[in-house]
Structures are given as structure tokens and as C-alpha cells.
């Protein structure tokens, strides 16, 4: 994803930043998707990739296309919502989930888990497999949400490149998997497709953490490698939403290099497992 030759003579907060500001303002007013609070460096990087993909010379040209063409907007949103990460990313997290969180879940008659910002669904299926192997599927409902309908459709389809099976399998075993990943998928022309039975207790829904409200109360919320894409203020807002959506003693899981520092909620959780970045709501 190398960007086309560009004029980098501008000052750091020059024309390109102005163009990005205007693009985000336009998107918010035209479509209601608010990307203004996103972390700027990574957002700029993804937008530059979009310019190459759309064969456009400038952010201003992208603005024109996006404002007039809803399909182009959907592509931009999908790019921003795409988390490139495999199944059982950070196997240690899933091992800890199995050993420490699953026993807690067994104490509840019914469990709701929210996978906030589920992107293309790799983590949804990873958790679904752990729950199936722990015979908890029927007692757990998974709510998998993302702001982009395009990536949600990919998540629902559950089809990934066949070349990913081997690395996914390795991570699955490191994560304490009891069988083999091929038991949970079929290999076809399009790649590997996760079995539909894993989706039986999954509800996929469109939800934008930046603009939408809490919609239920959950025993567990996994929001891993999602708020990394937000700036400080939006991240704080999202942590307000996450805490509000957790039941008492509910569990929050963050990505391997995320903390609660600067979230405004540092004192409102206890650390359940520092390496797995698992926290439990206090009060």
C-alpha cells in the first residue's frame, strides 16, 4: 500500500490536514458517521491507502466522490473498520479467557457477551469456538457489532483465505484448543468457511461506538484493538459507553497493548489479569 508520489513540502499542519478536516466534516454532515475523533496518524495512513485504491490524486477529490457516491462512502468506512488480525490473535489471551473467565461464566444462568468493533469477525469465531469446547454455547449470546455493514457482512460469511488456515490453526492450539480447527470449518474455492453452527448464538448488528448509545447490559465486553484507532477524547467517550454497558462485576477485555490509562475509568475496574488485559468492573 505505497502511496503515490506526493508533494511533502507542506508544513505538518498544512493543506493535507485541512483537506482531511473538511472530508470528515462532510462525511459527518452527509452520512452521520463521525470520524473526527479518530487518531489522526493512522486515519491519515488509511485515507492515503484509500486514495491509491480509488485512483484519486487528493483528499479533496476523495471528498467529492464520497459525498456524491454512497458506495464510495461504504468502501471508506470498511477500510477504516478493517482490523487486520487473525483468529486467536494473542493466543495467551484466549488461554486466559478459557481458564479464568469461563469458570466465572459458568456461575451465571445466562451470559451476554459484546464484541464491540468486531470487524471481519475472526475474534467472534475464536470466542464461539472456546465457548463450544467449554459446552457453554447454549447459555451464552454473543453480540457482534461494527460500524461498517460491509465488514459485518464479511463477519457473517465467516470466510477467510485458505492460506490463513495454518497460522490460525497454530494460534488455536497455542490458545488451548482441544481439537483441530479443521473441525470447525470447510475448505472451498473461496477459502476456509467457519461452520454456521458457530453463528447460532451470535447476533450481528450495526453499531457505531463513536455515535451510538448503549443498547444492552453485558457480562463481558471485548473491545480489543478498537479504541487504538480513536483519539484521546473519543476513546474516553467510548470507555464511558463500555462501562455503562457492563453489569456489576462485568468483565472488560482490551488488546495486548492497551490500558485504561487516560480512559477516565482507571479506578473503576480491578485488574483481573494484567498480561491478558482483562479487567473487572467495580461498583
Amino acid at each position: 500500500m505505497n502511496t503515490a508520489p506526493r508533494d511533502y513540502e507542506e508544513p505538518p499542519h498544512g493543506l493535507e490536514d485541512l483537506e482531511i478536516d473538511l472530508l470528515l466534516e462532510g462525511i459527518a454532515r452527509r452520512y452521520g458517521s463521525d470520524l473526527r475523533g479518530y487518531a489522526r496518524g493512522a486515519l491519515r495512513h488509511k485515507l492515503m491507502g484509500t486514495l491509491v485504491a480509488e485512483r484519486l490524486p487528493t483528499i479533496s477529490a476523495l471528498q467529492e466522490r464520497v459525498l456524491r457516491d454512497a458506495a464510495a462512502m461504504a468502501r471508506v468506512l470498511a477500510t477504516l473498520a478493517t482490523n487486520v488480525q487473525g483468529m486467536f490473535r494473542d493466543p495467551g489471551f484466549f488461554l486466559t479467557f478459557r481458564r479464568r473467565i469461563v469458570p466465572l461464566l459458568r456461575t451465571y444462568p445466562f451470559v451476554r457477551i459484546w464484541l464491540a468493533g468486531c470487524s471481519t469477525g475472526e475474534e467472534v469465531y475464536s470466542i464461539a469456538i472456546v465457548l463450544a469446547e467449554e459446552h457453554l454455547s447454549t447459555r451464552v449470546r454473543l453480540y457482534a457489532t461494527d460500524m461498517s455493514e460491509t465488514v459485518l457482512a464479511q463477519a457473517k460469511a465467516g470466510t477467510y483465505g485458505a492460506d490463513l488456515l495454518q497460522p490460525f490453526e497454530t494460534s488455536y492450539l497455542e490458545a488451548g484448543g482441544r481439537r483441530t480447527l479443521t473441525d470447525y470449518c470447510t475448505i472451498g474455492r473461496d477459502g476456509m468457511t467457519l461452520s454456521s453452527s458457530l453463528r447460532d448464538n451470535v447476533i450481528f448488528g450495526q453499531h457505531d461506538l463513536a455515535t451510538d448509545r448503549s443498547f444492552n447490559e453485558f457480562n463481558v465486553i471485548l473491545c480489543r484493538n478498537v479504541t487504538i484507532h480513536f483519539g484521546l477524547a473519543l476513546r474516553r467517550r467510548v470507555h464511558d459507553l463500555l462501562r455503562e454497558s457492563l453489569c456489576r462485576l462485568g468483565i472488560l477485555g482490551l488488546g495486548a497493548h492497551e490500558s485504561l490509562r487516560g480512559s477516565g475509568h482507571e479506578d473503576r475496574y480491578e485488574v483481573l489479569d494484567p498480561a491478558a488485559r482483562l479487567f473487572r468492573r467495580l461498583g
Binding site: 500500500m1 505505497n2 511533502y8 513540502e9 508544513p11 505538518p12 487518531a39 489522526r40 496518524g41 493512522a42 491519515r44 495512513h45 488509511k46 491507502g49 478493517t82 482490523n83 487486520v84 488480525q85 490473535r89 484493538n225 479504541t227 487504538i228 484507532h229 483519539g231 484521546l232 476513546r235 488488546g255 495486548a256 497493548h257 492497551e258 490500558s259 490509562r261 487516560g262
Partner: protein, 214 residues
């Protein structure tokens, strides 16, 4: 100009190093590409213990062979300054070695770091190009970028060009000392970089960060 006798009479170090003075820069970012972890350790050993700028270190190459924790321990053993693996939104602190975590891109937003799971760039995540580009945007002429070690995938060249274009200082390891003998190719755009032997880079970088005399 440009006679054939130039090469043998060139000094070991680029004479333009004199243009960089303590106080001119606010951050040093070191990208060590494939198989350069050992080189990075040698660089850290040579860094002055009183170095007072933030220093960011990105080790390229396969990330799965070592956990972040193992990397941290092995790097800290070579360095008097505190070494930390970066967490998302960590502040950029002076006198500290901030190490890019495996399998994320590393960006700089104002005064803090930001991680991203955007797709690998030319097969690399973290990517030196991405980090250097972000540093160029955030720090402009106050940035120093150092490219260490062999670089068979050329990760870092585009980023280094951007740092130069924004007026920052770029230092590359002299090919003669780089592992595997395929150092950052110092031709074309990188010709405007300062080329130093590995043993010279740490003292040079140390000199950019003011320290209290010990």
C-alpha cells in the same frame, strides 16, 4: 568536481555531521530492519546514559520468534536508560527507549503514541516506513531518524525520504559495517542522509541529546 579520486580520500564520516547540534531535535527514531536486532543492541550499549531525548526503537523482521517481554529483557540488558514496550496512547517521554510492539503499526499523534492494526505495508508490521512517515508529519525538522542494519526489503527508505523532505535529519549505517553486507542502499534519495559506521552512530546520537556531565 566529481573526480574519480574522491572515494579513497573521503573521511570515514560524512563531514556534514557538523550541521546537527544539541537542541536542534526533539525525538530520535531508530528503525532496525531484518536481522538487525544485534545491531540495535550494539547501538543501545553505546548510547550515553544521560541521553535526554525520547528515543523510539522499531525492530523489524519476524515478530513471532520472541515475545515482547523477552525482547524487553534482552534490550534492557544493553541499556542504561529505561526500556519500555509501547502501549497505545503512551506519552512520549524523554530519556526513555520506547520499543514498538510486535504486530502493530506505530504512529505518533502529538505528544503520544498510537497503535494500529492496519494492513502490513510491504509485508511489514510494524513498518519502518509508516513510523518514519508519522514522525516526519509530527516533528518535521525536529526529527532524527536512524536506519540500522541490512535492509533487504527496503523498509524505511520511503519513510526516510519523507523525513528528509520535511527537513529532518536522516542517519544510515555505513554498508561496510552492516550485517549481511546489504546495508540500506545509500544511493539516490538517501544520498542526502548522513552515513556513519555503527560504532559512530551512538556517540553521534548521544551528542544530539543534551545530558548532564557525569
Amino acid at each position: 568536481m566529481g573526480t574519480a579520486r574522491s572515494a579513497p580520500f573521503l573521511p570515514a564520516t560524512d563531514t556534514r555531521v557538523g550541521v546537527a547540534r544539541p537542541g536542534d531535535h526533539d525525538i530520535v527514531v531508530v528503525g532496525a530492519s531484518v536481522a538487525a536486532a544485534r545491531t540495535a543492541s550494539m547501538f543501545l550499549v553505546g548510547l550515553h546514559g544521560g541521553f535526554s531525548l525520547p528515543l523510539v526503537l522499531l525492530l523489524g523482521g519476524p515478530g513471532r520468534d520472541r515475545s515482547d517481554g523477552e525482547r524487553l529483557v534482552s534490550l534492557q540488558a544493553h541499556c542504561a536508560l529505561p526500556v519500555r514496550i509501547v502501549d497505545d496512547k503512551d506519552p512520549i517521554l524523554p530519556g526513555r527507549i520506547h520499543v514498538a510492539p510486535a504486530d502493530y503499526h506505530l504512529f505518533i499523534d502529538d505528544d503520544h503514541f498510537a497503535l494500529s492494526t492496519a494492513a502490513p505495508v510491504n509485508g511489514a508490521r510494524p513498518s519502518i516506513d509508516v513510523l518514519f512517515g508519522s514522525v516526519a508529519d509530527a516533528f518535521g525538522p525536529r526529527a532524527v531518524c536512524v536506519l540500522l542494519g541490512s535492509n533487504e526489503h527496503d523498509d524505511g527508505r520511503a519513510g526516510a525520504d519523507r523525513v528528509r523532505a520535511r527537513g529532518g535529519l536522516v542517519i544510515v549505517e555505513n554498508p561496510a559495517t552492516a550485517a549481511l553486507g546489504v546495508a540500506p542502499r545509500a544511493e539516490a534519495p538517501l544520498a542526502s542522509a548522513t552515513v556513519l559506521h555503527l560504532s559512530e552512530i551512538a556517540p553521534f546520537v548521544s551528542n544530539l541529546g543534551e545530558w548532564e556531565a557525569s
